[in-house]
Protein backbone atom coordinates (compact mmCIF):
# COMPACT_ATOMS: atom_id res chain seq x y z
CA UNK A 1 0.00 0.00 0.00
CA UNK A 2 1.38 3.39 -0.91
CA UNK A 3 1.77 6.11 1.64
CA UNK A 4 0.12 9.49 1.16
CA UNK A 5 2.27 11.05 3.83
CA UNK A 6 5.39 9.91 5.60
CA UNK A 7 6.70 11.95 8.50
CA UNK A 8 10.19 11.24 9.77
CA UNK A 9 11.55 12.50 13.09
CA UNK A 10 9.64 15.76 12.85
CA UNK A 11 10.48 18.47 15.34
CA UNK A 12 8.88 21.88 15.66
CA UNK A 13 10.44 24.20 18.21
CA UNK A 14 9.14 27.71 18.78
CA UNK A 15 11.43 30.30 20.27
CA UNK A 16 10.13 31.83 23.49
CA UNK A 17 11.78 34.09 26.08
CA UNK A 18 11.90 31.09 28.44
CA UNK A 19 13.62 28.74 26.03
CA UNK A 20 12.45 26.62 23.11
CA UNK A 21 8.86 25.40 23.19
CA UNK A 22 8.88 21.84 21.91
CA UNK A 23 5.51 21.72 20.17
CA UNK A 24 6.41 18.56 18.25
CA UNK A 25 9.36 16.61 19.54
CA UNK A 26 10.44 13.84 17.22
CA UNK A 27 7.36 12.37 15.56
CA UNK A 28 7.58 9.59 13.02
CA UNK A 29 4.26 8.68 11.47
CA UNK A 30 2.67 7.74 8.17
CA UNK A 31 -0.77 7.56 6.62
CA UNK A 32 -1.52 4.91 4.00
CA UNK A 33 -3.63 5.80 1.02
CA UNK A 34 -7.32 5.41 1.66
CA UNK A 35 -7.01 4.81 5.40
CA UNK A 36 -8.06 6.92 8.36
CA UNK A 37 -5.43 7.66 10.94
CA UNK A 38 -6.89 9.07 14.11
CA UNK A 39 -4.59 11.39 16.05
CA UNK A 40 -5.76 11.95 19.59
CA UNK A 41 -4.39 14.03 22.42
CA UNK A 42 -5.24 16.87 24.75
CA UNK A 43 -4.79 20.57 24.08
CA UNK A 44 -1.16 21.56 23.72
CA UNK A 45 0.05 18.10 22.80
CA UNK A 46 1.21 19.30 19.38
CA UNK A 47 -1.39 17.56 17.21
CA UNK A 48 -2.48 20.78 15.51
CA UNK A 49 1.10 21.90 14.93
CA UNK A 50 1.78 18.56 13.33
CA UNK A 51 -1.24 19.00 11.07
CA UNK A 52 -0.16 22.48 10.08
CA UNK A 53 3.30 21.20 9.15
CA UNK A 54 1.78 18.58 6.88
CA UNK A 55 -0.31 21.13 4.98
CA UNK A 56 2.60 23.57 4.87
CA UNK A 57 1.41 26.41 7.10
CA UNK A 58 4.06 25.69 9.74
CA UNK A 59 7.70 25.08 8.93
CA UNK A 60 9.29 22.15 10.81
CA UNK A 61 12.53 22.84 12.66
CA UNK A 62 13.87 19.42 11.80
CA UNK A 63 12.77 16.22 10.11
CA UNK A 64 11.01 15.55 6.83
CA UNK A 65 7.50 15.24 5.51
CA UNK A 66 7.09 13.36 2.25
CA UNK A 67 3.76 13.76 0.51
CA UNK A 68 2.94 11.11 -2.05
CA UNK A 69 6.59 10.12 -2.05
CA UNK A 70 8.12 13.57 -2.52
CA UNK A 71 9.43 16.14 -0.10
CA UNK A 72 8.15 19.64 -0.76
CA UNK A 73 9.59 23.06 -0.05
CA UNK A 74 7.81 26.36 0.24
CA UNK A 75 8.26 27.69 -3.31
CA UNK A 76 5.35 28.51 -5.58
CA UNK A 77 5.43 25.26 -7.56
CA UNK A 78 5.81 23.22 -4.39
CA UNK A 79 2.91 25.06 -2.82
CA UNK A 80 0.70 24.12 -5.76
CA UNK A 81 1.72 20.47 -5.84
CA UNK A 82 1.33 20.25 -2.07
CA UNK A 83 -2.19 21.62 -2.46
CA UNK A 84 -3.05 18.76 -4.80
CA UNK A 85 -1.64 16.21 -2.36
CA UNK A 86 -3.19 17.38 0.91
CA UNK A 87 -6.05 19.60 2.02
CA UNK A 88 -7.41 20.52 5.40
CA UNK A 89 -10.73 21.02 7.19
CA UNK A 90 -10.60 23.31 10.21
CA UNK A 91 -12.38 23.28 13.53
CA UNK A 92 -14.21 26.58 13.48
CA UNK A 93 -16.65 26.50 10.59
CA UNK A 94 -17.25 30.25 10.73
CA UNK A 95 -13.61 31.36 10.76
CA UNK A 96 -12.53 29.03 7.98
CA UNK A 97 -14.68 30.62 5.27
CA UNK A 98 -14.13 34.13 3.90
CA UNK A 99 -17.21 36.08 5.07
CA UNK A 100 -17.13 38.26 1.95
CA UNK A 101 -17.38 35.48 -0.61
CA UNK A 102 -20.37 33.45 -1.68
CA UNK A 103 -20.27 29.72 -1.06
CA UNK A 104 -20.01 28.89 -4.76
CA UNK A 105 -16.98 31.12 -5.12
CA UNK A 106 -15.36 29.63 -2.01
CA UNK A 107 -15.66 26.11 -3.42
CA UNK A 108 -14.42 27.30 -6.82
CA UNK A 109 -11.40 29.10 -5.38
CA UNK A 110 -9.00 26.09 -5.49
CA UNK A 111 -9.98 25.44 -9.13
CA UNK A 112 -9.34 29.07 -10.04
CA UNK A 113 -5.96 29.12 -8.29
CA UNK A 114 -4.91 25.96 -10.12
CA UNK A 115 -6.42 27.20 -13.42
CA UNK A 116 -8.55 24.11 -13.83
CA UNK A 117 -11.23 24.27 -16.49
CA UNK A 118 -13.15 27.17 -17.99
CA UNK A 119 -15.62 29.22 -16.00
CA UNK A 120 -18.48 27.07 -17.24
CA UNK A 121 -16.65 23.83 -16.50
CA UNK A 122 -15.78 25.06 -13.02
CA UNK A 123 -19.43 25.90 -12.40
CA UNK A 124 -20.42 22.32 -13.25
CA UNK A 125 -17.63 20.93 -11.10
CA UNK A 126 -18.59 23.12 -8.12
CA UNK A 127 -22.21 22.00 -8.32
CA UNK A 128 -21.04 18.41 -8.51
CA UNK A 129 -18.81 18.70 -5.42
CA UNK A 130 -21.50 20.60 -3.54
CA UNK A 131 -23.96 17.83 -4.27
CA UNK A 132 -21.46 15.27 -2.99
CA UNK A 133 -21.32 16.99 0.39
CA UNK A 134 -25.08 17.46 0.59
CA UNK A 135 -25.36 21.10 -0.45
CA UNK A 136 -27.88 22.19 -3.04
CA UNK A 137 -27.39 24.85 -5.70
CA UNK A 138 -29.33 27.44 -3.71
CA UNK A 139 -26.67 27.20 -0.99
CA UNK A 140 -24.06 28.27 -3.53
CA UNK A 141 -25.48 31.79 -3.75
CA UNK A 142 -25.40 32.28 -0.02
CA UNK A 143 -22.79 33.92 2.16
CA UNK A 144 -21.25 31.76 4.91
CA UNK A 145 -23.05 33.60 7.71
CA UNK A 146 -26.38 32.63 6.17
CA UNK A 147 -25.62 28.93 6.70
CA UNK A 148 -25.72 26.80 9.84
CA UNK A 149 -22.55 25.45 11.43
CA UNK A 150 -22.97 22.04 9.89
CA UNK A 151 -23.57 23.47 6.42
CA UNK A 152 -20.48 25.65 6.72
CA UNK A 153 -18.45 22.60 7.60
CA UNK A 154 -19.81 20.94 4.46
CA UNK A 155 -18.59 23.93 2.46
CA UNK A 156 -15.15 23.51 4.03
CA UNK A 157 -15.13 19.85 3.08
CA UNK A 158 -16.27 20.66 -0.46
CA UNK A 159 -13.48 23.20 -0.90
CA UNK A 160 -10.95 20.70 0.43
CA UNK A 161 -12.16 18.03 -1.99
CA UNK A 162 -12.15 20.27 -5.07
CA UNK A 163 -8.55 19.41 -5.93
CA UNK A 164 -9.08 15.69 -5.25
CA UNK A 165 -6.24 15.41 -2.74
CA UNK A 166 -4.92 12.05 -1.59
CA UNK A 167 -5.03 13.14 2.05
CA UNK A 168 -7.57 15.19 3.96
CA UNK A 169 -6.43 16.54 7.32
CA UNK A 170 -9.41 17.11 9.62
CA UNK A 171 -8.26 19.20 12.57
CA UNK A 172 -11.01 18.93 15.21
CA UNK A 173 -13.38 19.15 12.27
CA UNK A 174 -16.46 18.10 14.22
CA UNK A 175 -15.56 19.39 17.68
CA UNK A 176 -17.42 22.68 17.44
CA UNK A 177 -20.64 21.08 16.21
CA UNK A 178 -23.68 19.93 18.11
CA UNK A 179 -24.00 16.18 18.57
CA UNK A 180 -26.73 15.72 15.98
CA UNK A 181 -24.85 17.78 13.41
CA UNK A 182 -21.56 16.15 14.37
CA UNK A 183 -23.09 12.81 13.40
CA UNK A 184 -24.12 14.22 10.01
CA UNK A 185 -20.60 15.47 9.30
CA UNK A 186 -18.95 12.25 10.49
CA UNK A 187 -21.24 10.24 8.25
CA UNK A 188 -20.41 12.58 5.38
CA UNK A 189 -16.67 12.14 5.90
CA UNK A 190 -17.05 8.37 5.94
CA UNK A 191 -19.15 8.51 2.74
CA UNK A 192 -16.64 10.75 1.02
CA UNK A 193 -13.79 8.47 1.99
CA UNK A 194 -15.66 5.45 0.72
CA UNK A 195 -16.46 7.12 -2.59
CA UNK A 196 -13.22 8.99 -3.31
CA UNK A 197 -10.78 6.70 -1.48
CA UNK A 198 -9.19 9.72 0.14
CA UNK A 199 -7.04 9.13 3.22
CA UNK A 200 -8.01 10.99 6.38
CA UNK A 201 -5.80 12.27 9.16
CA UNK A 202 -8.53 12.75 11.73
CA UNK A 203 -7.35 14.86 14.63
CA UNK A 204 -9.45 15.16 17.76
CA UNK A 205 -9.29 15.43 21.52
CA UNK A 206 -12.24 13.05 21.71
CA UNK A 207 -11.12 9.44 21.75
CA UNK A 208 -14.60 8.04 21.20
CA UNK A 209 -15.00 10.02 17.97
CA UNK A 210 -11.53 9.00 16.81
CA UNK A 211 -12.24 5.38 17.59
CA UNK A 212 -15.43 5.54 15.59
CA UNK A 213 -13.81 6.75 12.36
CA UNK A 214 -10.21 5.51 12.47
CA UNK A 215 -8.48 2.42 11.14
CA UNK A 216 -5.42 3.24 13.16
CA UNK A 217 -4.99 5.53 16.16
CA UNK A 218 -1.93 7.49 17.26
CA UNK A 219 -1.96 8.94 20.78
CA UNK A 220 0.06 12.10 21.31
CA UNK A 221 1.30 13.58 24.55
CA UNK A 222 3.60 16.59 24.95
CA UNK A 223 4.83 16.55 21.38
CA UNK A 224 5.47 12.81 21.14
CA UNK A 225 3.58 9.81 19.92
CA UNK A 226 3.13 7.57 22.95
CA UNK A 227 1.11 4.84 21.31
CA UNK A 228 0.16 3.95 17.75
CA UNK A 229 -1.57 0.96 16.26
CA UNK A 230 -4.82 -0.49 14.93
CA UNK A 231 -7.78 1.37 16.43
CA UNK A 232 -9.19 -1.70 18.08
CA UNK A 233 -5.89 -2.63 19.72
CA UNK A 234 -5.28 0.88 21.04
CA UNK A 235 -8.81 1.10 22.42
CA UNK A 236 -9.07 -2.37 23.92
CA UNK A 237 -5.53 -3.18 25.02
CA UNK A 238 -4.91 0.23 26.59
CA UNK A 239 -1.24 -0.57 26.80
CA UNK A 240 -0.01 2.93 27.52
CA UNK A 241 -0.99 4.46 30.87
CA UNK A 242 -1.99 7.71 29.13
CA UNK A 243 -4.34 5.90 26.76
CA UNK A 244 -5.85 4.20 29.80
CA UNK A 245 -6.38 7.58 31.44
CA UNK A 246 -8.00 8.97 28.31
CA UNK A 247 -10.42 6.07 27.95
CA UNK A 248 -11.20 6.27 31.66
CA UNK A 249 -12.01 9.94 31.53
CA UNK A 250 -14.57 9.70 28.71
CA UNK A 251 -17.94 10.49 30.26
CA UNK A 252 -20.01 7.48 29.29
CA UNK A 253 -23.67 8.11 28.60
CA UNK A 254 -24.58 4.47 29.16
CA UNK A 255 -23.32 3.87 32.67
CA UNK A 256 -22.70 6.08 35.62
CA UNK A 257 -19.24 5.39 36.94
CA UNK A 258 -18.18 6.56 40.36
CA UNK A 259 -14.67 6.23 41.72
CA UNK A 260 -12.95 6.19 38.37
CA UNK A 261 -9.18 6.42 38.18
CA UNK A 262 -8.28 10.03 37.61
CA UNK A 263 -5.06 11.56 36.44
CA UNK A 264 -3.55 14.05 38.83
CA UNK A 265 -2.67 17.54 37.71
CA UNK A 266 -2.30 19.03 34.26
CA UNK A 267 -0.15 18.59 31.20
CA UNK A 268 3.35 19.97 31.96
CA UNK A 269 4.67 22.94 30.00
CA UNK A 270 6.24 22.05 26.64
CA UNK A 271 8.87 24.71 27.38
CA UNK A 272 10.18 22.74 30.32
CA UNK A 273 9.09 19.13 29.77
CA UNK A 274 9.92 16.45 32.34
CA UNK A 275 13.12 14.48 31.88
CA UNK A 276 12.77 10.97 30.50
CA UNK A 277 9.19 9.97 29.80
CA UNK A 278 7.01 13.05 29.23
CA UNK A 279 4.05 11.40 30.96
CA UNK A 280 5.85 10.34 34.12
CA UNK A 281 4.71 13.33 36.22
CA UNK A 282 1.08 12.22 35.94
CA UNK A 283 1.58 8.50 35.47
CA UNK A 284 0.29 6.21 38.21
CA UNK A 285 2.90 3.61 37.26
CA UNK A 286 5.96 5.88 37.13
CA UNK A 287 9.23 4.54 38.53
CA UNK A 288 12.80 5.72 38.77
CA UNK A 289 13.70 4.52 35.28
CA UNK A 290 11.01 6.74 33.74
CA UNK A 291 12.84 9.88 34.84
CA UNK A 292 16.13 8.78 33.37
CA UNK A 293 15.34 7.26 30.04
CA UNK A 294 13.02 8.42 27.26
CA UNK A 295 10.88 5.42 26.29
CA UNK A 296 10.92 4.71 22.55
CA UNK A 297 8.03 3.28 20.56
CA UNK A 298 8.38 -0.50 20.77
CA UNK A 299 6.46 -3.12 18.85
CA UNK A 300 4.02 -4.89 21.15
CA UNK A 301 2.65 -7.27 18.54
CA UNK A 302 -0.50 -7.01 16.46
CA UNK A 303 0.79 -3.81 14.86
CA UNK A 304 0.71 -1.93 18.16
CA UNK A 305 3.66 0.23 19.20
CA UNK A 306 3.87 1.68 22.68
CA UNK A 307 6.37 4.12 24.17
CA UNK A 308 6.41 2.92 27.77
CA UNK A 309 9.11 1.06 29.67
CA UNK A 310 6.52 -1.02 31.46
CA UNK A 311 4.00 -1.60 28.71
CA UNK A 312 4.23 -5.38 29.10
CA UNK A 313 3.45 -5.35 32.80
CA UNK A 314 0.69 -2.82 32.46
CA UNK A 315 -0.99 -4.64 29.63
CA UNK A 316 -0.67 -8.10 31.17
CA UNK A 317 -1.87 -7.01 34.58
CA UNK A 318 -4.86 -5.44 32.92
CA UNK A 319 -5.99 -7.53 30.03
CA UNK A 320 -8.66 -9.30 32.07
CA UNK A 321 -10.06 -6.01 33.17
CA UNK A 322 -9.87 -4.43 29.76
CA UNK A 323 -12.29 -6.91 28.24
CA UNK A 324 -15.28 -5.80 30.27
CA UNK A 325 -14.62 -2.11 29.93
CA UNK A 326 -16.18 0.34 30.72
CA UNK A 327 -17.61 -1.19 33.87
CA UNK A 328 -14.15 -2.19 34.98
CA UNK A 329 -12.83 -0.05 37.76
CA UNK A 330 -10.09 -0.93 40.12
CA UNK A 331 -7.22 0.35 42.14
CA UNK A 332 -3.81 -0.60 40.89
CA UNK A 333 -1.13 -1.56 43.40
CA UNK A 334 1.27 1.29 42.73
CA UNK A 335 -1.10 3.87 41.42
CA UNK A 336 -1.77 7.16 43.09
CA UNK A 337 -5.47 7.58 42.83
CA UNK A 338 -7.83 10.37 43.41
CA UNK A 339 -11.29 9.33 44.29
CA UNK A 340 -14.39 11.18 45.14
Amino acid sequence: MSRVVEITDLKVYHRTPHGPLRAVDGVTLHVDSGETLGLVGESGCGKSTLARCIVGINRPSQGTIALGGQGLGSGRADRLSRARAVQMVFQDPSGSLNPRLRVGRIIAEPLIVHRLGSTAQRQVRVEDIAAQVGLTSHHLDRFPHELSGGQRQRVSIARALALEPGLLVCDEAVSALDVSVQAQVLNLLLDVQDRLKVALLFISHDLSVVRYVAHRIAVMYLGRIVEVGPADAVWKRRAHPYTRALTNAIPDEQVRRDNIELLEGDVPSPINPPSGCPFRTRCPFARARCAEEVPQLRDRGGGLSVACHFAEEIEQGRTAEATDWPAAVGASPNASLTSA
Binding site: A83, M88, S96, V113, S156
Partner: protein, 280 residues
Protein backbone atom coordinates in the same frame (compact mmCIF):
# COMPACT_ATOMS: atom_id res chain seq x y z
CA UNK B 1 -19.48 43.20 -1.20
CA UNK B 2 -22.10 43.35 1.46
CA UNK B 3 -24.79 45.90 1.01
CA UNK B 4 -22.57 48.17 -1.09
CA UNK B 5 -25.63 49.03 -3.14
CA UNK B 6 -27.52 50.01 -0.02
CA UNK B 7 -24.65 51.78 1.68
CA UNK B 8 -25.75 55.25 0.57
CA UNK B 9 -29.32 54.50 1.55
CA UNK B 10 -28.28 53.25 4.98
CA UNK B 11 -26.07 56.30 5.45
CA UNK B 12 -28.94 58.59 4.58
CA UNK B 13 -31.15 57.02 7.21
CA UNK B 14 -28.55 57.70 9.87
CA UNK B 15 -29.09 61.19 11.40
CA UNK B 16 -25.52 62.50 11.30
CA UNK B 17 -24.98 60.65 8.04
CA UNK B 18 -27.87 62.54 6.46
CA UNK B 19 -26.57 65.94 7.56
CA UNK B 20 -23.03 65.13 6.47
CA UNK B 21 -24.13 63.65 3.19
CA UNK B 22 -26.29 66.69 2.37
CA UNK B 23 -23.41 69.09 2.99
CA UNK B 24 -21.03 66.99 0.93
CA UNK B 25 -23.50 66.73 -1.93
CA UNK B 26 -23.75 70.53 -1.78
CA UNK B 27 -19.97 70.98 -1.93
CA UNK B 28 -19.66 68.48 -4.77
CA UNK B 29 -22.47 70.22 -6.65
CA UNK B 30 -20.63 73.51 -6.29
CA UNK B 31 -17.51 71.94 -7.73
CA UNK B 32 -19.35 70.25 -10.60
CA UNK B 33 -21.42 73.25 -11.62
CA UNK B 34 -18.71 75.89 -11.07
CA UNK B 35 -18.17 76.40 -14.80
CA UNK B 36 -21.87 76.46 -15.49
CA UNK B 37 -22.57 79.18 -12.94
CA UNK B 38 -19.33 81.11 -13.24
CA UNK B 39 -17.97 80.35 -16.67
CA UNK B 40 -15.43 83.17 -16.59
CA UNK B 41 -13.54 81.56 -13.73
CA UNK B 42 -12.58 82.81 -10.28
CA UNK B 43 -9.81 85.18 -11.37
CA UNK B 44 -11.85 87.61 -13.45
CA UNK B 45 -12.01 91.09 -12.06
CA UNK B 46 -15.78 91.11 -12.28
CA UNK B 47 -16.82 94.17 -10.39
CA UNK B 48 -15.95 96.90 -7.94
CA UNK B 49 -13.61 95.79 -5.12
CA UNK B 50 -14.68 95.21 -1.52
CA UNK B 51 -18.36 94.78 -2.17
CA UNK B 52 -20.01 93.44 0.98
CA UNK B 53 -22.34 90.47 0.58
CA UNK B 54 -25.83 91.60 -0.26
CA UNK B 55 -24.69 95.04 -1.40
CA UNK B 56 -25.07 94.17 -5.04
CA UNK B 57 -27.48 91.41 -6.15
CA UNK B 58 -25.05 90.51 -8.98
CA UNK B 59 -22.48 89.54 -6.33
CA UNK B 60 -24.45 87.77 -3.57
CA UNK B 61 -21.29 87.01 -1.57
CA UNK B 62 -19.53 90.22 -2.41
CA UNK B 63 -16.13 90.77 -4.04
CA UNK B 64 -12.56 90.75 -2.74
CA UNK B 65 -10.00 93.55 -2.62
CA UNK B 66 -9.34 93.18 -6.37
CA UNK B 67 -13.01 92.98 -7.33
CA UNK B 68 -13.13 89.22 -7.95
CA UNK B 69 -16.47 87.55 -7.30
CA UNK B 70 -16.27 85.62 -4.02
CA UNK B 71 -19.09 83.30 -5.03
CA UNK B 72 -17.17 82.32 -8.15
CA UNK B 73 -14.10 81.76 -5.98
CA UNK B 74 -16.10 79.58 -3.62
CA UNK B 75 -17.51 77.44 -6.46
CA UNK B 76 -14.21 77.02 -8.25
CA UNK B 77 -12.37 76.66 -4.95
CA UNK B 78 -14.58 73.72 -4.04
CA UNK B 79 -13.18 71.92 -7.07
CA UNK B 80 -9.60 72.38 -5.99
CA UNK B 81 -10.13 71.73 -2.30
CA UNK B 82 -12.17 68.58 -2.86
CA UNK B 83 -9.87 67.32 -5.61
CA UNK B 84 -6.77 67.82 -3.51
CA UNK B 85 -8.47 66.25 -0.48
CA UNK B 86 -9.67 63.19 -2.35
CA UNK B 87 -6.48 62.70 -4.34
CA UNK B 88 -4.24 63.06 -1.31
CA UNK B 89 -6.42 60.69 0.69
CA UNK B 90 -6.44 58.19 -2.17
CA UNK B 91 -2.66 58.23 -2.52
CA UNK B 92 -2.12 57.81 1.22
CA UNK B 93 -4.70 54.99 1.40
CA UNK B 94 -2.84 53.17 -1.37
CA UNK B 95 0.57 53.62 0.26
CA UNK B 96 -0.78 52.89 3.73
CA UNK B 97 -2.65 49.79 2.61
CA UNK B 98 0.32 48.31 0.79
CA UNK B 99 2.73 49.01 3.64
CA UNK B 100 0.30 47.94 6.36
CA UNK B 101 -0.86 44.88 4.43
CA UNK B 102 2.63 43.56 3.68
CA UNK B 103 3.75 44.34 7.18
CA UNK B 104 0.82 42.66 8.87
CA UNK B 105 0.70 39.67 6.56
CA UNK B 106 4.37 38.72 6.49
CA UNK B 107 5.48 39.93 9.92
CA UNK B 108 9.10 39.21 10.79
CA UNK B 109 11.88 41.44 9.50
CA UNK B 110 9.73 43.04 6.79
CA UNK B 111 7.28 44.14 9.47
CA UNK B 112 10.13 45.52 11.58
CA UNK B 113 11.57 47.53 8.70
CA UNK B 114 8.24 48.90 7.47
CA UNK B 115 6.98 49.74 10.93
CA UNK B 116 10.18 51.56 11.90
CA UNK B 117 9.77 53.54 8.69
CA UNK B 118 6.17 54.30 9.67
CA UNK B 119 7.25 55.32 13.16
CA UNK B 120 9.88 57.62 11.70
CA UNK B 121 7.30 59.27 9.44
CA UNK B 122 4.95 59.74 12.37
CA UNK B 123 7.53 61.45 14.56
CA UNK B 124 7.97 64.24 11.99
CA UNK B 125 5.37 66.99 12.59
CA UNK B 126 3.18 66.48 9.55
CA UNK B 127 2.34 70.07 8.71
CA UNK B 128 5.97 71.19 8.98
CA UNK B 129 7.12 68.42 6.69
CA UNK B 130 4.36 69.31 4.22
CA UNK B 131 5.68 72.89 4.24
CA UNK B 132 9.22 71.61 3.76
CA UNK B 133 8.26 69.36 0.83
CA UNK B 134 6.32 72.13 -0.90
CA UNK B 135 9.20 74.51 -0.19
CA UNK B 136 11.71 72.18 -1.82
CA UNK B 137 9.66 70.93 -4.77
CA UNK B 138 7.88 74.19 -5.42
CA UNK B 139 4.17 74.84 -5.09
CA UNK B 140 2.09 72.97 -7.64
CA UNK B 141 -1.09 70.98 -7.20
CA UNK B 142 0.68 67.65 -7.61
CA UNK B 143 3.43 68.47 -5.10
CA UNK B 144 0.80 69.55 -2.61
CA UNK B 145 -1.09 66.27 -3.05
CA UNK B 146 2.19 64.37 -2.75
CA UNK B 147 3.19 66.32 0.37
CA UNK B 148 -0.11 65.66 2.10
CA UNK B 149 -0.13 61.99 1.14
CA UNK B 150 3.44 61.49 2.37
CA UNK B 151 2.55 62.74 5.84
CA UNK B 152 -0.76 60.98 6.25
CA UNK B 153 -0.23 57.38 5.08
CA UNK B 154 1.28 56.11 8.36
CA UNK B 155 -2.12 56.32 10.07
CA UNK B 156 -3.66 54.06 7.43
CA UNK B 157 -0.65 51.74 7.52
CA UNK B 158 -1.05 51.15 11.25
CA UNK B 159 -4.76 50.57 10.89
CA UNK B 160 -4.40 48.11 8.02
CA UNK B 161 -1.56 46.30 9.75
CA UNK B 162 -3.66 45.80 12.89
CA UNK B 163 -6.52 44.41 10.79
CA UNK B 164 -4.18 42.11 8.90
CA UNK B 165 -2.61 40.85 12.12
CA UNK B 166 -6.09 39.92 13.30
CA UNK B 167 -7.35 38.47 10.05
CA UNK B 168 -4.26 36.49 9.07
CA UNK B 169 -4.84 34.12 12.00
CA UNK B 170 -8.29 33.26 10.65
CA UNK B 171 -8.57 29.80 9.22
CA UNK B 172 -9.93 31.09 5.93
CA UNK B 173 -6.57 32.71 5.29
CA UNK B 174 -4.77 29.49 6.19
CA UNK B 175 -7.03 27.54 3.87
CA UNK B 176 -6.16 29.93 1.03
CA UNK B 177 -2.50 29.09 1.61
CA UNK B 178 -3.36 25.41 1.67
CA UNK B 179 -5.12 25.53 -1.69
CA UNK B 180 -1.92 27.08 -3.05
CA UNK B 181 -3.07 30.66 -3.52
CA UNK B 182 -0.27 33.18 -4.00
CA UNK B 183 0.46 35.62 -1.21
CA UNK B 184 -0.50 38.67 -3.26
CA UNK B 185 -3.91 37.21 -4.03
CA UNK B 186 -4.43 36.35 -0.39
CA UNK B 187 -3.44 39.85 0.72
CA UNK B 188 -5.39 41.85 -1.83
CA UNK B 189 -8.11 39.44 -2.86
CA UNK B 190 -9.00 37.77 0.41
CA UNK B 191 -7.92 39.78 3.43
CA UNK B 192 -8.18 43.34 2.13
CA UNK B 193 -11.92 43.21 1.29
CA UNK B 194 -12.49 42.21 4.91
CA UNK B 195 -10.86 45.35 6.27
CA UNK B 196 -12.50 47.82 3.90
CA UNK B 197 -14.88 49.09 6.58
CA UNK B 198 -12.27 50.72 8.85
CA UNK B 199 -10.32 51.94 5.81
CA UNK B 200 -13.39 53.67 4.39
CA UNK B 201 -14.13 55.28 7.73
CA UNK B 202 -10.54 56.44 8.14
CA UNK B 203 -10.32 57.83 4.62
CA UNK B 204 -13.33 60.09 5.10
CA UNK B 205 -11.46 61.69 7.97
CA UNK B 206 -8.33 61.70 5.85
CA UNK B 207 -10.06 63.70 3.10
CA UNK B 208 -11.07 66.27 5.72
CA UNK B 209 -7.54 66.52 7.08
CA UNK B 210 -6.10 66.87 3.58
CA UNK B 211 -8.51 69.72 2.78
CA UNK B 212 -7.41 71.53 5.92
CA UNK B 213 -3.70 71.00 5.21
CA UNK B 214 -4.15 72.30 1.66
CA UNK B 215 -6.07 75.33 2.95
CA UNK B 216 -3.38 76.02 5.54
CA UNK B 217 -0.64 75.82 2.91
CA UNK B 218 -2.53 78.18 0.62
CA UNK B 219 -3.28 80.50 3.50
CA UNK B 220 0.45 80.75 4.14
CA UNK B 221 0.98 81.49 0.47
CA UNK B 222 2.48 78.08 -0.24
CA UNK B 223 -0.41 76.94 -2.40
CA UNK B 224 -0.36 76.52 -6.15
CA UNK B 225 -0.49 80.13 -7.44
CA UNK B 226 -2.30 79.05 -10.60
CA UNK B 227 -5.40 77.64 -8.94
CA UNK B 228 -7.95 79.16 -6.63
CA UNK B 229 -8.76 77.01 -3.59
CA UNK B 230 -10.66 77.92 -0.47
CA UNK B 231 -7.31 78.34 1.23
CA UNK B 232 -6.24 80.86 -1.44
CA UNK B 233 -9.34 82.97 -0.80
CA UNK B 234 -8.66 82.77 2.92
CA UNK B 235 -5.08 83.89 2.34
CA UNK B 236 -6.18 86.77 0.12
CA UNK B 237 -8.65 88.00 2.71
CA UNK B 238 -6.10 87.92 5.50
CA UNK B 239 -4.79 91.46 4.82
CA UNK B 240 -8.28 92.95 5.07
CA UNK B 241 -9.33 90.89 8.08
CA UNK B 242 -10.24 93.90 10.21
CA UNK B 243 -12.04 95.98 7.62
CA UNK B 244 -13.66 93.26 5.49
CA UNK B 245 -13.89 90.10 7.63
CA UNK B 246 -16.44 88.54 5.24
CA UNK B 247 -13.59 87.77 2.84
CA UNK B 248 -12.13 85.23 5.28
CA UNK B 249 -15.39 84.23 6.94
CA UNK B 250 -17.05 82.97 3.74
CA UNK B 251 -14.37 80.48 2.68
CA UNK B 252 -13.89 79.54 6.34
CA UNK B 253 -17.56 78.55 6.64
CA UNK B 254 -17.24 76.46 3.49
CA UNK B 255 -14.15 74.75 4.87
CA UNK B 256 -15.58 74.12 8.31
CA UNK B 257 -18.85 72.73 7.05
CA UNK B 258 -17.13 70.43 4.54
CA UNK B 259 -14.71 69.11 7.14
CA UNK B 260 -17.52 68.70 9.64
CA UNK B 261 -19.63 66.93 7.03
CA UNK B 262 -16.80 64.50 6.28
CA UNK B 263 -16.37 63.74 9.97
CA UNK B 264 -20.12 63.23 10.39
CA UNK B 265 -20.14 60.84 7.46
CA UNK B 266 -17.14 59.08 8.98
CA UNK B 267 -19.02 58.55 12.23
CA UNK B 268 -22.11 57.39 10.41
CA UNK B 269 -20.07 55.00 8.27
CA UNK B 270 -18.54 53.61 11.41
CA UNK B 271 -21.99 52.86 12.81
CA UNK B 272 -23.35 51.53 9.54
CA UNK B 273 -20.37 49.33 8.72
CA UNK B 274 -19.97 47.97 12.25
CA UNK B 275 -23.56 47.30 13.28
CA UNK B 276 -22.39 45.06 16.10
CA UNK B 277 -21.00 48.02 18.01
CA UNK B 278 -24.33 49.73 17.99
CA UNK B 279 -26.26 46.84 19.47
CA UNK B 280 -24.25 46.76 22.68
Amino acid sequence: MFGRRFLLWRLASHPSGLVGLTLIVLAVAMAVFADWFYSSGPWTLAGPPRLWPGQDPAFPLGTDSLGRDLAAGLFHGARVSLAVGIAAAAVSVVIGTVVGGLSGYYGGWLDDVLMRLTDAMQTIPSFLSAIAIVGILGPSLSTIIFAIAIVSWPMIARLVRAEFLRLRTYDFVQSCKIIGMSDMRIIFGQILPNCMAPIIVASSVLVATAIIVEASLSFLGLGDPNVMSWGTILGNGRAALRTAWYMTAIPAVALVSTVLALNLVGDALNDVLNPRLKER
